[in-house]
C-alpha cells in the first residue's frame, strides 16, 4: 500500500508517454565536452595564456550567475552548465593576447563575462528567455569597448610557457588588407595554407583556429542529435557560394571579379566553424522550425560574407549571428507548420 500514490500525483496526459534521460543540464555539459578538443588545440598553439583567459572567463561567468541569482532571490542554476558554456565559448572567442600585464588587459575577459551572463541572460529572465547568444554579446561589447586590445593577434608560438608572443594579423585580416597573393605568400604555398588553416596553426581567437578539432566536436553533437544539420550546412553553404561568386579580386585593378573567389579560404578561416556549429545552433536563440533554421542559416551566411567583403571588420560571423538572433522569433512565427488535420481558412 505504500506505493500507492496520492490522487494529485496521478496526472493524466495525452500520449505518447516517452521517458528520456535528456535534460537541459545534460545537453549543456555534453556541448561543453564537445568544445574541449578545439579548446585543447588552442591551448596547444597559444600556450598557457589560452588556459588562463578561458579559465578566467568560466570562473567569472559562473560566479556572476551565482551571485546575481542569490541577489535577486532566484533559484541558483549554476549546475546546469549553461553559464559554464557561456564562459567557455566567450574565452574561446577572445584573442590570446588579452593575458598581458603591460598594457593591462586582464580585466577585459571578466567584464565580458559579466555582461554576457548578467545583462544578456539574467536581465531577460534567465536561461531560455534571452534573445541573443550571451557569449556573442559579451564579445561584441568587448570588441566595441576595447577596439585595440581585442584586435591584437599573436602567432601560435612554439614556446609553450611564454606569456609574450609576436603579434601578427589573422588570415582574414591579411586577405582584407593585402589580398590573396600576400596570404598565400605568408603560408608558403596554397596547399600549405589550406593544411595550416585546417589544423589550426594560425593567428586567431583561442578556440576558433582548429577546424579539425571543431569538426570532431560538431560530429559528436550531430551523432548525439543535439544539433541538426540544418543551420550549419545552410550557413556554411551560403558562405561558400557567396565567397565563390563575390570573393574574387582582379589582381591588377583590385576591383571585384565575379566567380573567381576561393571558398575554401573563407570556410576555413575566421570564427566560421565555431559560429556555425556551436553558436548559431544555440537552442534558445535560433528558430525551432526546421524550415526556419535553413532560412536562419542562409541569413547568417549572407550577412557574414557581406561584412567580410564590404564591411569595416575583417570577420563578420559574430555580428551576423547576433543580427539573425533578432529575427529568430519572426522566422518561427511565419514558418509555423500546419496543425495536423486542421482545415485552412478560406480567404474572403
Amino acid at each position: 500500500m505504500a506505493d500507492v500514490k496520492k490522487e494529485h500525483e496521478l496526472i493524466v496526459t495525452v500520449s505518447p508517454h516517452v521517458r528520456d534521460e535528456e535534460t537541459t543540464s545534460r545537453i549543456m555539459w555534453t556541448v561543453n565536452m564537445a568544445l574541449l578538443p578545439a579548446f585543447f588545440m588552442g591551448f596547444y598553439f597559444f600556450g598557457l595564456k589560452a588556459l588562463f583567459i578561458t579559465a578566467l572567463c568560466i570562473i567569472s561567468s559562473v560566479l556572476s550567475e551565482y551571485f546575481f541569482q542569490k541577489a535577486v532571490n532566484r533559484k541558483v542554476t549554476v549546475n546546469d552548465g549553461s553559464s559554464f558554456l557561456t564562459g567557455l565559448l566567450l574565452g574561446m572567442n577572445l584573442p590570446p593576447s588579452l593575458w598581458s600585464f603591460n598594457p593591462f588587459t586582464i580585466h577585459v575577459p571578466i567584464i565580458g563575462s559579466v555582461i554576457a551572463v548578467v545583462i544578456t541572460k539574467q536581465f531577460f529572465g534567465g536561461l531560455g528567455y534571452n534573445i541573443f547568444n550571451p557569449a556573442l554579446i559579451g564579445r561584441a561589447f568587448l570588441l566595441i569597448s576595447f577596439p585595440k586590445a581585442m584586435t591584437i593577434w599573436t602567432e601560435p608560438s612554439a614556446a609553450f610557457f611564454a606569456l609574450d608572443a609576436k603579434t601578427t594579423a589573422t588570415p582574414l585580416g591579411i586577405l582584407k588588407e593585402d589580398g590573396i597573393a600576400k596570404l598565400i605568400e605568408a603560408f608558403g604555398d596554397k596547399l600549405n595554407l589550406y593544411a595550416e588553416l585546417f589544423n589550426g596553426h594560425r593567428a586567431g581567437s583561442i578556440g576558433e583556429t582548429s577546424v579539425l578539432a571543431l569538426l570532431i566536436g560538431a560530429g559528436f553533437l550531430l551523432y548525439k542529435r543535439y544539433i541538426t544539420w540544418h543551420i550549419p550546412i545552410s550557413f556554411l553553404g551560403t558562405v561558400a557560394v557567396l565567397a565563390w561568386i563575390f570573393g574574387g579580386k582582379n589582381p591588377e585593378t583590385g576591383k571585384m571579379l565575379l566567380f573567381a573567389g576561393d571558398p575554401l579560404i573563407h570556410l576555413l578561416s575566421g570564427g566560421l566553424m565555431l559560429g556555425a556549429f556551436f553558436m548559431a545552433t544555440d537552442y534558445v536563440t535560433c528558430p525551432s522550425v526546421r524550415k526556419g533554421q535553413i532560412v536562419f542559416g542562409i541569413g547568417c551566411g549572407a550577412l557574414t560574407m557581406l561584412i567580410r567583403i564590404k564591411g569595416g571588420y575583417p570577420e563578420g560571423v559574430m555580428f551576423a549571428i547576433l543580427l539573425m538572433n533578432c529575427f529568430a522569433p519572426l522566422i518561427d512565427r511565419s514558418m509555423k507548420s500546419d496543425v495536423f488535420g486542421a482545415v485552412k481558412e478560406k480567404k474572403k
Partner: protein, 212 residues
C-alpha cells in the same frame, strides 16, 4: 491652517517630480534626449536647465490662460505656448552660451516635441492654479535635470574617463558607454535601479511604464 497645508503639498509636488514620478526613470517619457544628449555631464546639465525653464514657463502660461482655451483646440494652443518658450530659450542660449549651443542647438529646438512638457501642461497646469503649476513644473524640471545629470555622469565617467570635460583617468575605461548603445544600457540599468530602490525602501509598486 490652510496655508500650512498648501506648503506641504507644494513640497510633495516637487518631490513627486523628482522621485516617485521622475519623468525618465519612473514615467518613462522623453527618453530620446536621455540617450541623445547625455554623452557628458555638461551637455546633460545644460539640456536639463533648458527643459526646467521651458517646463516652468509653460506650466505658468497654460495655468494663466486655462480658462480662455476652448477644450477642442487645447492641444494646438499648448503647442503654440511650448513653441514660444522653446524659441525664447533657443535664442537666449544662442546669444549667451555659444560654445554649448553649437554642440546641442538642434536638441534645444527639439524640446518642443518632448512628451513630458505637453503631458504636464495637459495633466496638471490646465486644471490647477498658478502657484501649484509653478511647483509642479519646478519638480518635473528638476527631476528631468537630475536624471540627465546622473545618466551623463556614468556615461562620461565610463566612456571618456572624464567629468564635466575634465579628465579623471587617462584611459577610456569602456568606450561603448559614450556610443548610443551605451546610452540605452545606462538608461535601462538606472531605471531598474530606481525601481528597485523605490520598491525596497519606499514600498512602491514598480514603474508605471509610460501609461501617463
Amino acid at each position: 491652517m490652510s496655508n500650512s497645508e498648501n506648503k506641504i503639498s507644494y513640497i510633495s509636488l516637487i518631490k513627486n517630480g523628482i522621485f516617485s514620478e521622475n519623468p525618465i526613470f519612473r514615467v518613462a517619457l522623453s527618453l530620446c534626449p536621455a540617450v541623445a544628449v547625455t554623452s557628458g555631464v555638461k551637455n546633460g546639465f545644460m539640456m536639463g536647465i533648458a527643459v526646467l525653464f521651458v517646463q516652468i514657463m509653460v506650466n505658468i502660461t497654460v495655468s494663466v490662460v486655462r480658462k480662455f482655451i476652448h477644450p477642442k483646440v487645447r492641444i494646438p494652443s499648448y503647442m503654440f505656448i511650448i513653441a514660444t518658450w522653446v524659441t525664447v530659450t533657443d535664442l537666449s542660449m544662442a546669444a549667451f552660451v555659444r560654445d554649448i549651443y553649437a554642440q546641442m542647438g538642434l536638441y534645444i529646438k527639439l524640446i518642443v516635441a518632448f512628451a513630458i512638457i505637453l503631458s504636464r501642461a495637459e495633466l496638471f497646469a490646465s486644471k490647477q492654479k498658478i502657484t501649484p503649476s509653478f511647483f509642479d513644473g519646478l519638480g518635473n524640471g528638476i527631476g528631468f535635470l537630475f536624471a540627465l545629470v546622473i545618466i551623463g555622469f556614468f556615461r562620461e565617467l565610463l566612456g571618456k574617463g572624464s567629468l564635466w570635460g575634465y579628465p579623471i583617468v587617462d584611459t577610456k575605461p569602456l568606450l561603448i558607454m559614450i556610443l548610443p548603445t551605451g546610452g540605452f544600457f545606462a538608461v535601462g540599468i538606472l531605471m531598474g535601479l530606481f525601481n528597485w530602490i523605490d520598491m525596497k525602501f519606499f514600498g512602491g509598486g514598480g514603474a508605471s511604464g509610460g501609461g501617463h
